[in-house]
């Protein structure tokens, strides 16, 4: 049935019958009625935003490093040259380690620090994820 409709004889004849044309001004009238579509704008992310969004990751990294290097548990024994690195690290930051030792010598300060750091960490993580996954 569809093939019958594809009647080349009739199709050729009909295509030779000219279509009606609008006035000569038609295209100009259409073009006058349109305004240019706004070109796609690529918004660059400001550097400050990159820096701000990296803060939680930097903080997390710092905490992990702090835990690893201040712990007696041998997390990093499998890494060759760990002792050498620790010695070097301690040499570079002796004042920091000395003050840390002083701080954590008090039980009150230690618990306060632990609570504060944990709360701060949880707060940062919460802020980070609520911003990332907010619809």
């Amino acid at each position: 049935m569809d093939d019958m409709l594809k009647d080349d004889f009739l199709g050729d004849l009909i295509r030779k019958v000219p279509l009606e044309s609008p006035s000569d001004e038609f295209i100009n009238k259409v073009m006058a009625g349109i305004k240019p579509l706004p070109a796609p704008v690529i918004v660059e992310r400001p550097y400050s935003l990159w820096i701000r969004s990296s803060i939680p990751y930097v903080a997390l990294g710092a905490i992990i490093i702090f835990i690893l290097f201040s712990s007696d548990i041998p997390y990093l024994n499998f890494i060759s040259g760990k002792e050498y690195f620790s010695v070097l690290f301690l040499k570079i930051f002796p004042p920091f380690w000395i003050s840390m030792k002083t701080v954590v010598s008090s039980r009150f300060i230690t618990y306060s620090l632990l609570t504060g750091v944990s709360a701060g960490f949880l707060f940062i993580i919460d802020k980070l994820f609520s911003r990332r996954f907010a619809s």
Partner: protein, 188 residues
């Protein structure tokens, strides 16, 4: 004038080159205007509706998903706009059962049409097309002039595919009958 594929101009327009739309208008203006004219029967109204359809299509170009041809999408816009203008209901649907589709061969259906030369055939066809209703004229134009498929025409007009087929068969038969009758009159 030789035109590029519609998508070529669409991409240019979407990238901010609105002047590329003029080529799309030039390419489709005659058929868009013809669709509007066949529905409205008034040149001024048809031109206004065709113009509005092009402007509307331009502003909706970002939402055009390229699932169908641009031309089909555009014809549907102008068809709906013209129908709204006339406040005319969509084309009457004809139940399949009302028309028996015979397996006419081309020779059966156009006796005598081959006996006249091509130019004469064209004149006869133009006359026969004037005897068709506006709706039938629109369907035959969409099918044979712009090579729309049955599904495309169904999408443009809102008729079911089977209805479009039935109507096209009936129109085709009527055109051949009218042309044969005119030839018979001429020969007598």
């Amino acid at each position: 004038m030789k035109y590029q594929d519609d998508n070529f101009y669409i991409e240019k327009v979407l990238n901010g080159d609105s002047s590329a739309y003029a080529a799309l208008v030039a390419k489709h203006k005659n058929l868009v205007f013809s669709i509007a004219l066949k529905i409205l029967n008034n040149r001024e109204d048809a031109e206004e509706i065709a113009q509005d359809a092009f402007v509307k299509a331009y502003h909706s170009l970002k939402s055009f998903e390229k699932k169908s041809k641009f031309s089909t999408w555009l014809y549907r816009i102008v068809y709906n706009a013209a129908i709204s203008r006339t406040r005319k209901r969509s084309l009457d649907t004809i139940p399949m059962d009302n028309y028996v589709i015979h397996n006419y061969s081309v020779e059966d259906i156009r006796p005598g049409v081959d006996e006249v030369d091509k130019n004469e055939q064209q004149v006869l066809l133009a006359k026969a097309m004037k005897n068709l209703s506006d709706e039938d004229n629109l369907l035959i134009t969409l099918f044979y002039h712009s090579n729309n498929s049955i599904e495309d025409i169904s999408g443009i007009t809102g008729l079911s595919s089977s209805n479009v087929k039935v109507r096209l068969h009936r129109i085709r038969k009527k055109l051949y009958d009218d042309m044969s009758a005119m030839i018979a009159v001429q020969l007598n």
